[in-house]
């Protein structure tokens, strides 16, 4: 059995202590603790549905060592939506624009979009496509996902958010 490690970290704004295995990835650690909005699609960093913010940057949680998150800060789609205006607006735009089909890639997409927009991402479809190019979607053809992120970027540009 791998060593068990207690880590203290902030998840979705709340300080928590988790017991994780030495070799465990952050994805499993989060899901084992009922952060179900972080999905598992491949577990080798190739699909992006497990994307979370780690210290403010979008990362694939399946390629992050859970133990190494001790003292760091994690935000997931659900937590971001409940706490930040930007993500809540992105989520609403996904609903309005028909960006959600099966929804399995959606939490990761919303987190990747949050990263893009909070770092000054512009309403530029090519740049948006680049920003979400680590997140696979098999249902939508990406068009309406780009629509939603573009819409929020436009709102930001026009000072509406």
């Amino acid at each position: 059995m791998s060593e068990k490690i207690n880590i203290k970290l902030k998840i979705n704004g709340v300080f928590v202590t988790l017991e994780v295995l030495a070799h465990q990835n952050l994805l499993r650690a989060l899901r084992d603790n009922y952060y179900w909005d972080v999905k598992c699609g491949c577990e080798v960093g190739e699909c992006g549905t497990c994307t979370v913010l780690l210290d403010g940057q979008a990362v694939k949680s399946c390629t992050v060592l859970a133990a190494a998150c001790d003292g760091h800060e994690i935000w997931t789609d659900k937590g971001l939506g409940l706490s930040t205006k930007l993500t809540a607006r992105i989520q609403d735009a996904f609903v309005e624009c028909g960006s959600v089909q099966c929804g399995f890639c959606t939490p990761g997409m919303v987190v990747a979009a949050t990263d893009y927009l909070k770092n000054g991402g512009k309403p530029d479809r090519t740049a948006i496509r680049e920003a979400i190019s680590g997140n696979l979607c098999r249902c939508t053809g990406y068009v309406k996902i780009v629509d939603a992120i573009y819409k929020v970027a436009k709102d930001i540009e026009e000072g509406l958010l």
């Binding site: 030495a22 060592l65 920003a131 680590g134």
Partner: protein
């Protein structure tokens, strides 16, 4: 059953102490190590986390050199103005590296230490004469990147050693290009980097070419470099690379492409890398 241990290192010395004489493995970003753990490539060792060591995370400028800490992420490289200006090939490699989320965790040290023949930063660093600085508890040494890789997955690094930083020379005329099946999340079929200087007559006075995914390790392309030296980088020259380039490479058939295909397209990639270096640098 998996039998791993874990320790967090907050300083280089602490990391080296934990590595010394131990069955230990370094984890930085984790983008290679986590899949290795899952696939069973890594078993039963103590994982030493180094991503929080501040002394491994910096990009510094001297008069003619740039120094990059081993834990600098690909995203940091992408955003760095120093890299953009003085190491354009590395900037370009960072821009096509994996995907944006992987770039946020993957580190330059990890990309080199994993020693994939297709490691995207390697050819870019090779044409900038990168030197890898390595430390163990009791010694330190530096190795030119061209002598760093030994075989696929193997480098000169010992289990008790750590890459601390990489030093590269400034050169504004460098370029990098990647051929992959997708625009994002692609493992390279062929990569090429170049660093080229022209004299006043427009003749190539110095030239470095490096290639990825066409040999057991990322390589400098000596025959190609010799062929190009003292020539004008015009279409005639750049269309006649195939013979020289094929002497440099020893590609294999793998799941991404055949050896024959790699032989066909490597000269094309070299040509494009040179054009990028000469005409399209930022």
């Amino acid at each position: 059953m998996k039998e791993f241990g874990y320790k967090n290192a907050t300083t280089i010395t602490e990391a080296l102490t934990l590595l010394d004489g131990q069955n230990a493995r370094v984890v930085a970003g984790g983008t290679n190590v986590l899949p290795y753990i899952r696939s069973g490539k890594y078993t039963d060792c103590r994982l030493i986390n180094i991503r929080d060591i501040k002394d491994l995370n910096f990009i510094k400028e001297d008069s003619d050199r740039i120094t990059i800490g081993a834990c600098v992420t690909i995203s940091q490289l992408k955003k760095s103005k120093l890299i953009l200006e003085f190491v354009p090939a590395l900037h370009q490699a960072a821009c096509v590296f994996a995907d944006p989320t992987i770039c946020n965790t993957a580190t330059v040290g990890g990309n080199l230490a994993s020693a994939s023949p297709a490691a995207d930063t390697a050819p870019a660093l090779l044409v900038h004469d990168a030197i890898v600085f390595i430390k163990s508890l009791n010694s330190s040494r530096s190795v030119p990147l061209s002598e760093f890789f030994k075989a696929p997955g193997t480098t000169v690094l010992q289990r008790n050693e750590l890459i601390t930083h990489i030093e590269i020379s400034k050169q504004k005329n460098s370029g990098f290009i990647k051929l992959g099946m997708r625009k994002s999340m692609s493992i390279s079929i062929v990569t090429a980097a170049s660093s080229v200087t022209l004299n006043d007559a427009g003749i190539i006075s110095s030239c470095k070419i490096a290639l990825g995914a066409v040999a057991p390790t990322p390589i400098r392309a000596a025959h190609t470099e010799r062929f190009l030296l003292s020539k004008k980088p015009d279409d005639d020259t750049l269309s006649a690379l195939i013979k020289a380039t094929n002497l440099d490479i020893s590609p294999i058939d793998d799941i991404r492409a055949s050896a024959d295909y790699r032989r066909e397209v490597t000269p094309v990639m070299v040509k494009r890398a040179i054009k990028l270096a000469l005409y399209e640098h930022c």
